[in-house]
């Protein structure tokens, strides 16, 4: 089988396999991963690609996710295009090395399948695993469909390599990871034209020995950290450009955020991940009934597309943020983010926060409709957080 024969086709694939195809099309050179439900199939298919020679990559089997990320770091320092995938506890175990990848400015791409943290033991989706890595410095994308998963994989390498930061993109356990959808698998020629081989700006060269990540005194550390922050700001511009370029070549684009019927909306629902898909249908129905309700999907979580978010939300009268996560002792994490983005604005908008679907509990259309009904009939939130559907 040749790469040319299995690309440039439409295929029904799971979200996990969409990741694998994305990595194949991106011609990753080193893959180091440890299997964990619900991520396993991502690396399973990749290992087959490597074994059959479809993908000319070194597949490194490791004994833990900490080592997986360590191996990716080593490979990336040597100048290889590098990929790993994990989930929940695996991502948590990687935590230390995620800091390392960011600090050493290595464009490792990481797929995380959102899975709730145990105990109680769970394999079902929620976002606490990836959002726990909020302050590490990863670029973070949240995907809605299998097509978006594949496209984001390819975009992720390009963005990472342009700004020299690791990129993590996220898909919901089972709802995407194990659900099949028709996916357009673009041709390898097209992908090659979009994503040229990685040319590292600095890398480990045995002919020119250098140490990476050495002791950095207070005289330099701050400046180097601010360079990471500058790279994040740069990433906002780069991510937008890359998405536009992608759209030009492949005919599909997603933006950093996606407003849906927001122009005249009185109430805007803010979602991420697969809840967005459900919410879209509810919005369509409500619009048919003449209700002025819109939807804002947050695709890029870090860096935060502040200006884009403000531009959309400042037009609304009320905003409701649905969080499939919880920052214990505070509120939903997306709600915090939206509030902080809007706080310094002159116009104050009531922001409702609904926490829903933790540990993979279904978030149904009628649940979202209830959220919309509640927000329409309530002038101002009486509680900071509403635990929608909790049986307590």
């Amino acid at each position: 089988m040749k790469l040319e024969e299995i690309t440039g086709v439409k295929k029904v694939v799971t979200g996990n396999h969409a990741v694998s195809y994305g990595v194949l099309l991106s011609r990753a050179q080193v893959i180091a991963a440890y299997p964990i439900t619900p991520q396993t199939q991502v690396v399973e298919l990749l290992s087959e690609f490597c074994a059959t020679g479809l993908l000319n990559a070194k597949f490194v089997k490791v004994e833990s996710e900490h080592s997986a990320m360590s191996a990716c770091i080593g490979a990336a320092i040597a100048g290889a295009r590098t990929f790993t995938a994990t989930s929940a506890h695996g991502l948590a175990l990687m935590h230390e090395m995620l800091h390392w990848a960011v600090g050493a400015r290595l464009p490792v791409v990481l797929a995380n399948i959102n899975r709730a943290m145990g105990p109680g033991w769970s394999v079902w989706t929620d976002q606490n695993d990836s959002l726990s890595q909020r302050d590490v410095g990863l670029i973070q994308f949240y995907c809605e469909s299998n097509q978006e998963v594949l496209d984001t994989t390819i975009q992720a390498f390009k963005i990472a390599e342009k700004v020299l930061l690791p990129v993590m993109f996220v898909l919901d356990a089972f709802v995407l990871s194990h659900t099949s959808e028709p996916v357009d698998i673009p041709s390898i020629e097209l992908c090659d034209s979009f994503l040229p081989p990685y040319k590292p700006r600095h890398y480990l060269d045995v002919e020119r020995a250098q140490a990476f990540g050495g002791l950095t005194s207070p005289d330099y550390y701050y400046e180097i950290r601010i360079k990471i922050e500058m790279a994040h700001r740069e990433a906002l511009r780069v991510a937008k450009e890359v998405d536009l370029e992608f759209k030009k070549i492949f005919g599909r684009g997603y933006g950093l955020i996606e407003p849906y019927h927001c122009d005249d909306a009185k109430v805007i629902i803010v979602t991420s991940g697969t809840i967005t898909g459900t919410a879209r249908e509810v919005i369509d129905e409500e619009r048919k009934k003449g209700r002025k309700v819109g939807l804002l999907k947050i695709r890029l979580f870090r860096p935060t597309p502040r200006d884009e978010i403000k531009e959309v939300l400042l037009r609304a009268e009320k905003v409701a943020v649905i969080d499939r996560n919880i920052s214990f002792g505070h509120s939903g994490i997306f709600a915090q983010e939206i509030k902080s983005v809007l706080y310094n604005e002159y116009r104050r908008i009531p922001i409702f926060n609904f926490i829903m679907g933790l540990g993979g509990r279904d978030v149904r259309g009628e649940d979202i409709k209830e959220v919309i009904d509640y927000v329409f009939k309530t002038d101002y939130p009486t509680e900071d957080v509403i635990f929608k559907g909790v049986r307590l």
Binding site: G103, A209, Q210, A211, F212, G213, G214, I224
Partner: protein, 560 residues
């Protein structure tokens, strides 16, 4: 770039913490409080080998396909691996650390393979040599001690003459060990090896009768007495002198030299040592009905457990806790049986084994046509010239085989009493080393290895997989009517499989673990081994822990 950070512009800052040059100036070796040292230790097999063979080394060489070098490594300590590979009772395998992991390495089988390889592939290429030296040494007795001594002397160019009273050389290797354990063809090839080296064999000459010590002394720089212990101990029971009572050692000699055995139909063998078992297996092969009588239990039997097992497999019965009282004769004065008494075990005696005590009134008779006594061999003291000082059992010598007479040395069974072939070979080599030193052909005497052997607990067995010992193919039971060899040897594949089981205790075999694990890249590969770079080695000790074979030692740095 700006000289200091206060003058630095944004563009001066690197993207991340990267050194501009190598960090080699940071000699992290100064942090070290423990120093790893490559230090090969003494493997327990070598320690246990009477001949001190470098077993680990020849297995290591063999695994690399360097069979000839492996063979030559054995020759350094033992000139006859094809013999010892067959007949040695391998104390090395008892000491093998692998015994505590699964099963010991089949060391003697490996030795046999290399020995046969040497005889068939290496020795064939050797051209006959003439002695280079004017010096001449006479060896009396062509058993393993005499042959080994001759080998190491001839190797240095000495003229060696071996005197042998039988028709053919080999001593006890030929007269004592049956052909099913040591085929004559192998023995002959080993002797031919010596002949090619210039050693002269003079047979049919009896020391003390045909030729005297004084005469030998005059024509030789040194004389080596290796006459063995070939006299059977007597039973001290009535009618022992009867014709139907044979001495084990002389029965073996007769059979092994192809003479008539004089065995009756029903044979009793008295004794529990290797001679007794050899006699029984020989008689069985000659179609006789055989029972061994031993006065203690199987646990105390001095014969090799493998020999006992083979004897039992071949249908030989062993009666334990039985001692002979009297040989029973018929009217014609022929043996008709043996009166015996039952024994029980009492307190341990000087040998550490429990002493057998007769049970009063338990006497009984066993019918037999022949009784073979095989309760141990003695040195023929009458053969020893009277000017030589003796011990209670043989010739008195010092550690180097020197007797009270100048240039007269002795070794092997005639000094120690009956021991093994490997012990005799070691004794022969030691005497040769002494003679070479005395003749000025060797600058120093070898130093005894006083190191403690490596034990099992000192190994890191994480790196070893369980693997069963490769069993040697054997002649089927029903075919054991002839004197055809019983143990059939390893194929090359079996040999390599078994060799690969070796832990290489205490000796680096270049497994690369230290090289792979060193977090400071301070292990350098050399052509034959490794070297630490102490400029950067922090002394973390990972190499020593991960070395599977304890070939790295951590020493405290000075002042600790």
């Amino acid at each position: 770039m700006a000289r200091n950070f206060k003058e630095m512009k944004e563009s001066d800052y690197p993207l991340c913490a990267i050194s501009l040059d190598t960090t080699l100036l940071n000699k992290t070796g100064t942090w070290r409080i423990f120093r790893p040292v490559y230090e090969n230790k003494l493997p327990p097999c070598q320690d246990a080998c009477p001949a001190n063979e470098e077993i680990q080394k020849y297995i290591y060489l063999a695994l690399q396909g360097r069979y000839e070098e492996g063979y030559r490594t054995i020759l350094e300590k033992n000139p006859f691996p094809a013999i010892t590979g067959r007949v040695c009772f391998h104390p090395c395998e008892d000491a093998c650390n692998r015994r505590e992991f699964d099963e010991p390495i089949g060391i003697h089988n490996i030795e046999r393979f290399l020995g046969d390889y040497g005889l068939n592939k290496v020795e064939r290429k050797e051209k006959p040599k003439k002695p280079r030296s004017e010096k001449k040494v006479t060896v009396i007795g062509s058993g393993p001690a005499g042959l080994a001594c001759a080998y190491y002397l001839a190797k240095e160019g000495i003229q060696v003459e071996i005197l042998e009273r039988e028709d053919l050389p080999g001593g006890l290797l030929r007269t004592g060990i049956p052909a099913y354990r040591l085929p004559r063809e192998i023995l002959d090839k080993e002797i031919k090896k010596l002949e090619r080296m210039g050693v002269r064999f003079i047979t049919n000459i009896t020391f003390g009768r045909d030729i005297m010590l004084d005469a030998l002394r005059r024509r030789s720089s040194a004389v080596f007495l290796a006459i063995g212990a070939q006299k059977e101990r007597s039973l001290d029971i009535p009618n022992e002198e009867s014709k139907g009572v044979l001495e084990g050692i002389s029965l073996l000699r007769r059979v092994n030299l192809g003479k008539r055995s004089h065995l009756g139909k029903k044979v009793l063998v008295i004794g529990g040592g290797n001679t007794a078992v050899d006699c029984a297996r020989v008689a069985k092969r000659l179609g006789r009905e055989v029972v061994i009588l031993y006065r203690r239990t199987k646990q105390e039997m001095p014969a090799s457990p493998e020999e006992i097992e083979e004897a039992e497999k071949e249908g030989i019965k062993i009666e334990f806790l039985v001692a002979p009282v009297k040989v029973l004769l018929n009217r014609k004065g022929e043996v008709k049986g043996l009166e015996c008494i039952r024994m029980k075990l009492g307190a341990p005696d000087a040998s550490g084994r429990r002493r057998p005590i007769p049970i009063r009134g338990s006497n009984f008779a066993i019918a037999a046509d022949t009784v073979i006594k095989a309760i141990g061999e003695l040195v023929e003291l009458e053969m020893i010239p009277k000017e030589l000082e003796k011990t209670g059992w043989g010739i008195k010598t010092n550690d180097w085989g020197e007797t009270n007479q100048k240039n007269i040395l002795a070794g092997g069974d005639c000094v120690t009493g009956p021991k093994t072939v490997a012990h005799a070979i070691a004794a022969g080599r030691k005497v040769a080393e002494r003679i070479l030193f005395d003749l000025g052909l060797k600058e120093q005497l070898p130093i005894k290895d006083e190191r403690e052997p490596v034990n099992f607990a000192q190994l890191n067995t994480f790196y070893f997989d369980k693997a069963p010992r490769v069993k040697m193919r054997q002649l089927a039971r029903k075919e054991r009517r002839s004197f055809q060899e019983v143990n059939l040897g390893y194929s090359e594949e079996e040999f390599l499989t078994e060799a690969a089981r070796c832990f290489s205790c205490g000796v680096c075999n270049r497994c690369d673990n230290c090289y792979v694990f060193c977090p400071d890249l301070s292990v350098k590969r050399l052509a034959d081994g490794y070297e630490f770079n102490y400029d950067y080695c922090k002394g973390c000790g990972v190499c020593a822990v991960e070395c599977p074979r304890n070939a790295i030692t951590m020493y405290p740095e000075g002042g600790l």
